[in-house]
């Protein structure tokens, strides 16, 4: 069941169901069975208490908290990585810089910051397919992909990506032939990996912006390839 943004804002609100004046029921199909309790969940209360305490003690600035949230909810995301990929596809010199010093090349496009201080880009070729994971926690290249999706952080992905990468990738809809080597990258230190997918056939006439539109988050993590223009995505589950 998809949940609207206003529904999620309601999670920590102390309100009876009928009081949601910002709760729009028109754009999703559900009965009133979603989990609006009369009081916030235990964890929401604990978080609120810590935030209040830290503000009161002068440890954190409320405006900075909101700015961080805005940054990761609305300003950083896979569109950044897609632009990096599209630039690499159209500019061979940039591609070379990206493969030799990814942090600097990515910073040329204005992307840097937490969890992106030590970037490495791994390129897919006809004979090599790369897959990125963090088995120990959830390390992910935030400046180019934003925050990771829940599946990337899931125990199933963390456990299986290193032992059965082809089965995991197949669950996303992509079957790799035996003559393609799979390279899995387990992010155990501060290096953060971005997959440079292959440019799809049929994209020769597209400019950089149109190419960037084709590139999905899933292709940059390695559970998908980039589909040719006009064709449904090959593998993967989300832009």
């Amino acid at each position: 069941m998809l949940r609207s943004a206003s529904e999620q804002r309601g999670d920590a609100a102390v309100t009876a169901h009928g009081d949601h004046d910002d709760h729009d029921h028109d754009d999703h199909d559900h009965a009133h069975d979603h989990d609006h309790s009369d009081v916030p969940s235990d964890i929401a209360l604990r978080v609120k208490a810590l935030e209040s305490l830290m503000i009161e003690k002068g440890l954190v600035d409320p405006a900075a908290l909101d700015a961080t949230i805005d940054h990761y909810e609305r300003q950083v995301g896979p569109r950044n990585g897609a632009r990096v990929v599209a630039r690499a596809w159209t500019d061979p010199a940039y591609r070379a810089r990206l493969l030799s010093d990814a942090t600097a090349a990515i910073a040329e496009l204005g992307y840097s910051g937490a969890e992106g201080g030590h970037m490495v880009v791994v390129e897919n070729t006809p004979g090599v397919h790369n897959l990125v994971v963090c088995t120990l926690c959830s390390c992910y290249p935030w400046p180019v992909l934003g925050l990771p999706p829940a599946w990337y952080k899931s125990y199933a992905y963390r456990a299986r990506a290193v032992i059965e990468p082809r089965a995991v990738i197949a669950e996303f809809g992509l079957t790799l032939p035996d003559d393609v080597a799979v390279r899995v990258w387990d992010s155990t230190a501060e290096i953060r990996y971005l997959v440079l997918p292959e440019r799809p056939a049929g994209s020769e006439g597209l400019d950089e912006a149109a190419l960037a539109e084709l590139v999905t988050r899933d292709a940059m993590v390695g559970v998908a390839r980039v589909a040719p223009p006009g064709v449904a995505e090959t593998g993967g589950a989300a832009p």
Binding site: K57, T135, A159
Partner: protein, 206 residues
Amino acid sequence: MNGIHDMGGMHGFGPVRPDPGEPIFHARWEARVLALNFATGAARRRAGASGRRQIERIPPADYLRIPYYQKWFEALLATSIEAGLITAAEAGPGMLLPVPPRLPPAPPRDTAPPRTPAFALGDRVRARNIHPDYHTRMPRYVRGHAGVIAAHHGNAVFDDSRARGRGDDRQPLYTVRFTATELWGAQGHPADSIHVELWEDHLEPA
């Protein structure tokens, strides 16, 4: 430590379930946890606290049960206590981690000369068969296995040392390539490989 967090190779978690429409945060408290982590991160790190080290110590049943961002929250409480930002009493009831002691002042900056790398690209190395009960970033699934040095990333702070309050112990950091058959035996695909960053102290010649 050989904790529940060290999941590479485990069975039993079922299929990977992508959710194409999922929001960045499933509840607002998750966003607040992220923001509080950012805002206090520098102070907690300066004190020598490590969020990852604390997350790994969440009791296994709780670790598996709680939502992702609650792991961050429990570690935020523990590391904030360690760093002296809040007291145990201020952390409130319900902590899943034992209340940690306040950390002693961090050791003085490491003034030892940089270590020269023991290994070169292409060298065969073995991940040491060690099982520290403290925070380490060497996963269980590589220990005792042989691989090849695929990259050298200069010298990096050694988490295993910092986590025990023994200073940065900067040392060479490598990417080691293990073949799938080396790690998983006959069920590994013969063409596949797994790359892991390991510090020099994790390795021995093979």
